[in-house]
């Protein structure tokens, strides 16, 4: 499985991301489960965005605790240098002592924008 997001620098957009099982079927989230999304730069291990459902960033980037989960990436949080970054989608399993499970991984492709900034 792979989940890819194509985003534009300094822009806001929503994406629906589905967590699927080995057969490709969407899994069911139960009460207390959380979804997490990490976007990172592998070269130096820098975590660029670390989101958990129910805990939006101060700028408003968020994830919903649902499947598919809705990821809202807000411009002030995604204003890095254009490039190709790694992303991981995780499930925090409330029924298993909130252990963190790898759900999917893929690419976060950040494109340049005309102003290169937030406007």
């Amino acid at each position: 499985m792979t989940v890819n997001i194509t985003h534009y620098q300094g822009r806001t957009c929503e994406y629906d991301l589905t967590i699927a099982d080995a057969n490709g079927d969407a899994i069911t989230l139960y009460a207390g489960d959380k979804v997490r999304l990490k976007i990172w730069r592998q070269q130096d291990g820098k975590l660029l965005l670390d989101l958990a459902s129910g805990s939006p960033t101060t700028n408003g980037s968020s994830l919903t605790a649902a499947n598919p989960t809705r990821f809202k990436g807000v411009q002030n949080d995604i204003n890095w240098t254009p490039g190709i970054y790694d992303l991981e989608l995780l499930l925090v399993d409330a029924s298993d002592s909130s252990r963190v499970r790898h759900a999917d991984s893929g690419l976060f492709i950040l494109h340049d924008t005309p102003a290169g900034g937030l406007t």
Binding site: T2, R41, G83, Y85, F108
Partner: protein
Amino acid sequence: MPQIASEAEARVALGLTSAITDDERAAINLFLPAAEKAVVDFIGYDPVQREHTRYFPRTDPSGGIGFPDSGWDVHSSGRSAIRYYPTRASGMFPTLQLDVLPVRAVSDLRVDYDARHGQQTNAFAATTKRTPGQDYWTEDEAPNYCPSGCVFSRSTWPIEPGTVRVTFTAGYSPDEMNGRVETTGVDSDGYYNRVGVSANPLKRAVLLTLTTQMQKWAALRKSETTGFVPGPKQSERLGDYQYSLGGDGGKAIAGLVVELPAPAAELAEPFRHFGLYRL
């Protein structure tokens, strides 16, 4: 340790963006570090920007152990390398070339004639610290950008090995590695960036090396339906005579040794450290 290219970039280079198998992902993880190592070995240093601490001189240029005959220096014309010989006086080494390029900042430099590579008690004490701009300076082409890696001394550098300790930051930032620097200065992650500086050819060399290797791997990998795709013999026996291949030799024949393809070497060539000044 080096991270010139990432797995995500490798996937894009290999055309594996929309779907990737576990086998392919595992192969990328196997070959990407090897491809980086091939490039690092070719240029002679780790080009990822980070801090290093080194002891200099590495060997005794006056003819000590490991350097029995002579060394290399650059002719004053800057156009040719010349040999120097053990008879050369100790006071003729005003230049110390650091082994990682480009040098972005020297945070600490100490000279202790009895340091013994830092293993002597109280080696490189605070009193041995030298002052930047007065006792030494780097050959900067621009602020925080010294592509030669040369550090000049107001007097001379000692020739006794392990008597100079340098802590410095060198290499290219992630943005420089991508060729996407928009602002000169130190960014929020502490990386030195300079507009116009691009180490993108190094990243391309790594990805090109990886792509070549992945193509070999794909050609020789096991086929799920027909067993192994035909490849080189691993062993053979005829009466008392027999042989089997394994280890590095077997890998080489099977095409699993990661080598730098010629186009990748061409890309990396301008970044090579020839070490002409290196003590």
